[in-house]
């Protein structure tokens, strides 16, 4: 049932989540939205947004949030939702616990070996692809609306471009950008 699926899904995310928080976003999206439909695209994007605004790693934030929301969306109570968030969060941490301990105990000396380095050198470009895919998969009508609703559509596009330029070229703090976007949303998209 759903708790077992939740556990296995986030265990896999913890196990294969190379490349940091953003790459993990791609994996979480693959499980939570694409495969299991526990969250819609916009719900998932909300999670990422909230994760940017709160302390803590995006992996933990996403696991906690998705775990709770998935269970609630399936019709369970608030308390059961909390169990869901606990399940997902424990599941995402567990592979790290096992792996880091095993490495500490025995494999520390192998981390520099050519084979391990080769594997990582293959992963590095792939993680770029994961991020690109995550971005592309979030470019949906749920997040941006469609040209048939030009007001929302073009404002969304504008917010995207403004944030992109602001963060990349002007180096504005992402948190500030989210704040501006929130304000803009309230003013223009109410």
């Amino acid at each position: 049932m759903i708790f077992i699926q939740l556990f296995i899904a986030f265990f896999e995310i913890g196990l294969f989540g190379f490349g940091g928080g953003y790459a993990m976003i791609s994996l979480i999206q693959g499980m939570v939205v694409t495969r299991y439909h526990w969250l819609t695209v916009s719900e998932f994007t909300n999670v990422i947004a909230i994760s940017q605004m709160t302390p803590g790693p995006v992996g933990i934030n996403s696991a906690t949030y998705c775990g709770y929301t998935a269970i609630r969306n399936a019709g369970f109570s608030e308390f059961t939702g909390i169990i869901g968030s606990l399940t997902a969060t424990v599941a995402i941490i567990l592979p790290s616990l096992v792996l880091m301990i095993v490495i500490s105990k025995m494999f520390m000396k192998y981390m520099d070996s050519p084979i391990v380095q080769d594997v990582f050198s293959g992963l590095r470009p792939a993680v770029v692809g994961l991020l690109a895919a995550a971005t592309l998969l979030l470019m949906t009508p749920e997040n941006f609306s469609t040209p048939s609703d030009p007001w929302t559509f073009w404002i969304s596009i504008g917010l995207f471009i403004a944030t992109f330029v602001g963060t990349k070229l002007v180096k504005i703090n992402p948190l500030s950008m989210i704040g501006c976007a929130a304000f803009a949303g309230l003013l223009l998209l109410y």
Partner: protein, 178 residues
Amino acid sequence: MYWTLFKTFIKIGLVTFGGGYAMIPMIEADVVDKYKWVDKEEFVNLVAIAQSCPGVFAINISIFIGYKLRKISGAVCTAIAAALPSFLIILLIAMFFHQFQDNKIVASIFAGIRPAVVALIAVPTFNLAKSANINIYNCWIPTIGAIAIWLLGVNPIWVIIAAGFGGFLYGKYIRPTE
């Protein structure tokens, strides 16, 4: 010791916004300078390994420190401490949000935030491409990976597995012949 570990890593879990790597100086200040649990060189090594390994970076590095000091129970202690602040804060937000997500004000705020968030994920893509040395010769790797995930619906996990395996094969069979 457990309490000190727990307290330290709760603090670490509480003050990183957005990404684990920004917390490295903070962790170093406590773990290397203040408590001297590891020396500088070992710390740099642990950071490199924790970054390369799968899973949440902050959790990974917490586990390394915790294990070094108190073995498995230490590792569990630090892992829980690092995850706890996020867990509690996000859980509260999730519970609150679930009630209010249909509220017009909340909905419009997030309708504005969502496109911005997509941009915030797009930006690191380019930065990461630069730091991963993506050039004309290896750009096919992220391109094919992205297309597979985006258009063909391939689970990203398979892309990770294929890429890791590919790296291994390249190192073993192709590079020796170059």
